[in-house]
Structures are given as structure tokens and as C-alpha cells.
Amino acid sequence: MSKIYLSHNNIVSAYGFNTQSAIKNIGKEISSVKQFNDKSIMSEPFFSSMMNKKVLLNKFNKLNPKKDYTVLEQMMILSLNSIITDSNLKISEKTGLIISTTKGNIDALELNSNFNKNRAYLTELGNSIKDFFGFISEPIVLSNACVSGVLATSVAKRFIKQKVFDDVFIVSGDLVTKFILSGFNSFQALSSGPCKPYCKDRTGINIGEVAASILVTKQKANLTKEAVEILSDATANDANHISGPSRTGEGLVRSVQSALKEARLNANDIDYISAHGTATIFNDEMEAIAFNRLNMQTIPLNSLKGYFGHTLGASGLLETIIGMHSLQQNTLFKSLGFNEMGVSQPINIIKQTTKKKLNIFLKTSSGFGGCNTAAIFRKAEH
């Protein structure tokens, strides 16, 4: 079986309109999370990472859109446009389009929305992006809570293996909305300050917004310098609770075990773990338990939520892209927001950005519905 790679990538975020702007700031340990006071989203001030919508629209209008696009569509189209252009790939019926999102255009349900309420159907979002670029195949919208972004790379790989597609473009994204913030707030899951994954005084999540996209391909020609091979991937359910993580980390353990088995690797072959680390009490504790059960407690690990907040359906893909650049630069990025160990089992949290020879990394995510996804990536040989 031929190898499958993750190659051209883009991140549209509060840092800027490309991956480089995010990587540059992360390298300097600068967060994009700050305090906002926007009563249309939340009655009290909140911490988040959000796009400047005027700058976004200006940038988007340069693509000469022929109709109106929602904010999320603008972000996704800008992101995808960048990698379609860079990859120079001609879209055919063998080119797949995966859209990873949890809530899509959920803001279309708001009373003062400029868009028809039907825009909240995820297929509307999918078709809007499909039509903008002239994709031929029906878009595959993936909505599997917070694991969607990592799962999307796994789904792309599986469709390529089944010869449905030769190449797959994935675009992922979710917005910071009143819907999302009020929901997480009703769970008392929002942090009153910048989030602090795995830290003793962590109090919860910051919700952030990005659009991230990537090309998944079996063609070795024209790979980017940070391209990785996707060695393996797996999803497993906790079969325990719909809104809380398993106390034993069962699903996370099983997903990582399944991914290691497929890649024929052992725990000690992993150079770096890009973990989920939402900074809620229960999630971070669950991960520490799972990584100890997996004998992975000494592998350098970070959560990137301190830089972007939790970007929901985009987070897994966003963090995979950062992981690719981490490998390429042989750099372990600091797990921002961490000061003092706040989980009951030892884990090797990256306390400062350091140079280290890296070859293989593990990406994990966990989400509502009890789902957990793991994927293992290795530097592509050029």
C-alpha cells in the first residue's frame, strides 16, 4: 500500500492568514487569547481568541466573491484557497472535500442573523464551499464533536485507501458564538482567565476560533517541507458518559493502542505527544491517567489550547499542523499556561520551548459523546 501524506496546510486565526504567522508567534510563546467584552456573545467579559471580522472581510473580498458568505465560510474559503493555490492541484472527481466542524453556521439561527435560518444546515456550509471552488464530488461533512479535526485526517486516509479519492482537501472550522459560550458556561466549563492546561489552578476552557486546512495525498511529488506521513489512526469510545470523560481514560487508551498497533510502534518510539489539554479539571486528569496506563508519561507533551483556546471541530487539525511544523523545526513548543503540576499522575509537560531531534509524533483528542481519536505521524522522506 502506498504511503499517505499530510502536505500543504493553512491556518486562518487571530495570528494571521497563514500557518507561518501562527508558528512564529507560538515560537515566541505569544498567546492569541485575550479578554473580550462583547455583550452580543456573552453578558460578562470572556477570554477567547477571535478573528477581527473587518480585516477578515477585507481579505475575503479580494477573492471577488459573487454572493454573500457567512463569517465561518469566509474563514474556511480563505484557508482552503491558500492550499489549493499552493498545491497547484487540479480538482477532479477523484478529489475529495472533507469539512470538519461541530456547529458550522449555527449563528444563522440567531434572530438578528443576515442569513436565512436554513444556512445552519451543515450541508449548506458544505455545498457553499464546494461550489466556490468547483469541487465535483459531494462534500463529506464530519461532525463528531471535538475529535472531528483529527478524525478528518483519518477519514481522508481511509477514503484514499479505498480508492474513492486520490487527494483530499480538509477544511475545518468553528466560530465563537453565543450558542457555544452559553453552552460551555452552563457546564461551568469556561475559565475566567487565560486557560492553564494541566496546571494546579486551572479552572476551565477558553473557546477560540480558527479555520485550518490541509491536503491529504498519496502523491510524493510536490510535498511541502513539513509534510508528514500518516502512519496510523484510530477512534475509540469510552462507552461511559456522554458529557464527561471516562475516569480511567479507557477510550483514549484504546485509541492510542490501536494506532500503535497499526503503525507497529511501541510507546517509546513516539518523540512527542500533541495532547488535547482543554484545561478542565476532568479532561486533563483523564489524559494523565491514560498516558500513564500507556507508559507514555515521560514523552514530552503539550496542549496548544493556551495559544488558540479550544477551537472545537478545528482543534485536532490545527494542532496536527502545528505538530508537523514542530517536527520540521525539531522544536518542542512550550505548553503555554502551565506552572505547577495539577494532575494526579506524572506527565512530561513541555515547560519551555526547546530544540530536540524529532521524527514521530502522536496527536490525540477527546470529546463529548465519549469519543477519543489518536493519530501517529512521521516526517516524510524527501
Binding site: 453578558s43 461541530t102 456547529k103 458550522g104 449555527i106 439561527l109 440567531e110 434572530l111 445552519a120 444546515y121 451543515l122 450541508t123 458544505g126 455545498n127 459531494e138 463529506i140 461533512v141 464530519l142 461532525s143 463528531n144 464533536a145 478524525l151 477519514v155 481511509r158 477514503f159 485507501k161 479505498q162 474513492v164 453565543k178 450558542f179 452559553s182 453552552g183 458556561n185 452552563s186 457546564f187 484510530a234 477512534t235 475509540a236 469510545n237 469510552d238 462507552a239 461511559n240 458518559h241 456522554i242 458529557s243 479507557e250 477510550g251 484504546r254 490501536s258 497499526e262 463529548f368 459523546g369 465519549g370 469519543c371
Partner: protein, 205 residues
């Protein structure tokens, strides 16, 4: 087309009727709304699972279809079978999304509930099925314009070929504006009567 995978059983819930492998198992009253129909069906099928009443409508629909099918296949929680769940629909969780949106629309009448919010994700119904039947397996929820047997066929075949699962519980569960349709089928590598082909899926759908 030669098929190396087979459909073991299938279950459909629509038009106030539940059928298993093409035979009607339960019929409700013609005029009753979904909420009444599904409650009577639950009782009539002797489901006995108290958590059912806390679920939103989409989860009730998916859960009951899965329960009918998995019970028929003698899937018991103790065996912890490796059955992947791959579901799809058109309306995602919009039925509950609209309900949740109403609870946050008016600042003077603002009452967001975590018990409602958690169901504003379509894959929660996969979690509900997994909990009941102790399935620690592969999950995925896709959104398509219409039932798309070719994508589902490719994806579930891949899971079986790559040994990510021994069986795949696959299908369509849509609930929107009072209309509903669940069509679930179990795919295996065990030789059976119904070949797992796109054509066959279309004919039993």
C-alpha cells in the same frame, strides 16, 4: 460485483413503524407525533433502559433502531464486541439546536441548560448506543444531502478490511421538523445472504 462483506440485519424506523429485516415489528398510530410514537414503541418492545427518557429525539431514534438490531443479533454488553458505529444524516442535531437557541435568545428569559446543550452534537447518539451496548469502538458521524450508500459502503468496508472493527453498525438517522427516518444495518465479513453492495443497500433502504 463480488462482495467480501455482508449485511447481517437491518432495521428501519419511519412512518410510525419499526421493521426488522423487512418485517414489521411494531406499528404506532398514524397520527401520533414522533415523541408519542417512540415512547409507545419503547414500551412495546420491552426496552427497559431508563436513560432513554433523558435523551433528545435524535438519540431516541438512533438508540431504538440500534437496540432492536443489536438485540436481534444477540449482542450483549458483557462480550464487548468490536462493532464500529458509522452514522449519517442531513439535519445534524438541528432539532435540539433550535430548542437550545430558544433558551438563549431572550436576555430576560435566559436559561441555557447543560442537559439540552450536550445533545447539540449529532454524535451524542453514538455515545448513547456505545454506553448501552459497551462498544468501545470506532465512531464517525457524517452529514450528507441525502442518504449516501456509496460513501458509507467505502468507509465501513475500509474499517473491516483494516481490521479496525469486526462489524460495523452503519446507516442514516435523520430527524427534522417532525419528519424522521432511521435506517441502520450491520455489516460483517461473515458470509451471509445479503451481499454488502451499494446496489443492495439501495434496494433495502
Amino acid at each position: 460485483m463480488n462482495s467480501k462483506t455482508f449485511i447481517k440485519s437491518y432495521c428501519q424506523i419511519k412512518d410510525n413503524s419499526i421493521s426488522l429485516n423487512g418485517k414489521v415489528l411494531y406499528e404506532g398510530q398514524n397520527t401520533e407525533p414522533f415523541t408519542d410514537f417512540i415512547k409507545s414503541a419503547y414500551k412495546n418492545l420491552d426496552t427497559k433502559y431508563a436513560k432513554f427518557f433523558k435523551m433528545d429525539s435524535l438519540s431516541k431514534l438512533a438508540f431504538l433502531a440500534a437496540d432492536v438490531l443489536l438485540k436481534h443479533e444477540n449482542v450483549i454488553a458483557e462480550k464487548e464486541e468490536n462493532i464500529a458505529i458509522v452514522l449519517s444524516n442531513n439535519a445534524s442535531s438541528l432539532d435540539t439546536d433550535r430548542k437550545y437557541q430558544k433558551s438563549i435568545e431572550d436576555d430576560n428569559n435566559f436559561f441555557p441548560s447543560p442537559a439540552v446543550f450536550v445533545y447539540t452534537l449529532p454524535n451524542i447518539c453514538i455515545g448513547e448506543i456505545s454506553i448501552k451496548h459497551k462498544l468501545y469502538s470506532e465512531n464517525s458521524f457524517f452529514i450528507f444531502d441525502n442518504f449516501n450508500p456509496s460513501y458509507l459502503h467505502a468507509y465501513s468496508t475500509g474499517l473491516l478490511e483494516e481490521k479496525k472493527a469486526e462489524k460495523v453498525l452503519c446507516g442514516w438517522v435523520n430527524l427534522d421538523e417532525g419528519e424522521y427516518n432511521a435506517f441502520l444495518y450491520l455489516v460483517t465479513k461473515e458470509e451471509g445472504q445479503i451481499p454488502h453492495t451499494i446496489k443492495k443497500i439501495n434496494s433495502i433502504y
